[in-house]
Assembly symmetry: C2
Homo-oligomer: 173 residues x 2
DNA sequence: ATGTAAATTCTGTATAAACAGAAATATTCC
DNA sequence: GGAATATTTCTGTTTATACAGAATTTACAT
């Protein structure tokens, strides 16, 4: 697949940012490619377009499935797997947010709960106890807030975001 | 500094999660230590407590300063630098959120703006153009929402979070 | 100035992640 | 069943990061 200049830049940028987002370059490049392509692509076409090893593509596709970002589809008269991603940026953001929360946030909330319930907890300095408890409480609040937001439909969430700081007035009133 | 069992677990957990959060283990361990200690520590004490090389501590402290998570203080009659972090979980979350947004989000928003304004943009498939534009618009909305939230004081933000999904009613009404 | 403590930078090593290419496995068609 | 195609797993290499320990620099005291 021949890439236009903008597509190419897009894919390269996505790949570079990937490392900051905790996913490797090839994985994010493949995702970007599928997003730009807007149609299901077979692994070989991804391989050719990005110029990486076929095995690398295979593993990366697996990881993207683990993130819930791509799905396999089949085309009539073609035995190859084809891969596609949502063209809908909301769906994407939803999947990414959900998965990152699960991987980066929830384990620590669980851990902190465990700490606080541990028999050793009382042996801690009073100040340290306070800070740990406050951290847990804070993270629990953020966590359930996140879950709530994930439940909202795009339109509502968009309104919430557009509201921005003006929400203060609603709360006070 | 002798660590209690919970403190030790806390620091180790923080260190492990660090890699998922994009910072290395020593960096996050040091931060956790300062957070638990609740008082300014000199580099040597950090070195001894964590059992890592002095040079490693030095570099990690630099990185934590880059994140705006620690500050240097001096104690009377002691020439050594001492390092401390906010004991306030809100302050912490604020600093982390702000910095992550800056590093992981804003560059892509800038990049997408650049794409859309590029002379090559028109050569793109109509569908791809739409998706890129939608991505930009979405990320811009999220970005300014983030900025707004960062401006709110903790109490208000807490109320917003506690409100959760019930915010829908406020919006409709 | 010279010595001493503190902090940083430099250099090499170890570790882990990413990746290519080969080999092996699975799938579908005849 | 066997050939052809598609996919995954395995193995070794490369590359990037983390780190220790040494060397250097900086800051301060006398």
């Amino acid at each position: 697949m021949k890439l236009t200049p903008v597509s190419e830049r897009f894919i390269l940028h996505w790949g570079e940012m990937g490392s900051r987002w905790g996913v490797n370059r090839t994985v994010s490049q493949i995702h970007a490619l599928l997003y730009i392509a807007g149609r299901p692509l077979p692994a070989d076409e991804i391989t050719d377009t990005l110029g990486v090893a076929r095995s690398n593509v295979s593993n990366s596709l697996k990881e993207l499935q683990g993130w819930g970002l791509i799905s396999v589809v089949h085309l009539m008269g073609d035995r190859r797997d084809h891969f596609e991603t949502t063209g809908d940026v909301w769906g994407l953001a939803h999947a990414i947010f959900k998965e990152r929360k699960k991987r980066e946030f929830d384990p620590t909330v669980d851990f902190l709960r465990d700490c606080v319930n541990s028999p050793d907890y009382g042996k801690e300095e009073k100040d340290a106890q306070k800070r740990i408890a406050a951290t847990l409480q804070f993270m629990e609040t953020v966590s359930s807030w996140g879950d709530e937001l994930l439940k909202l439909d795009p339109e509502t969430l968009m309104k919430v975001m557009k509201l921005g700081a003006k929400i203060q007035k609603l709360i006070r009133g």
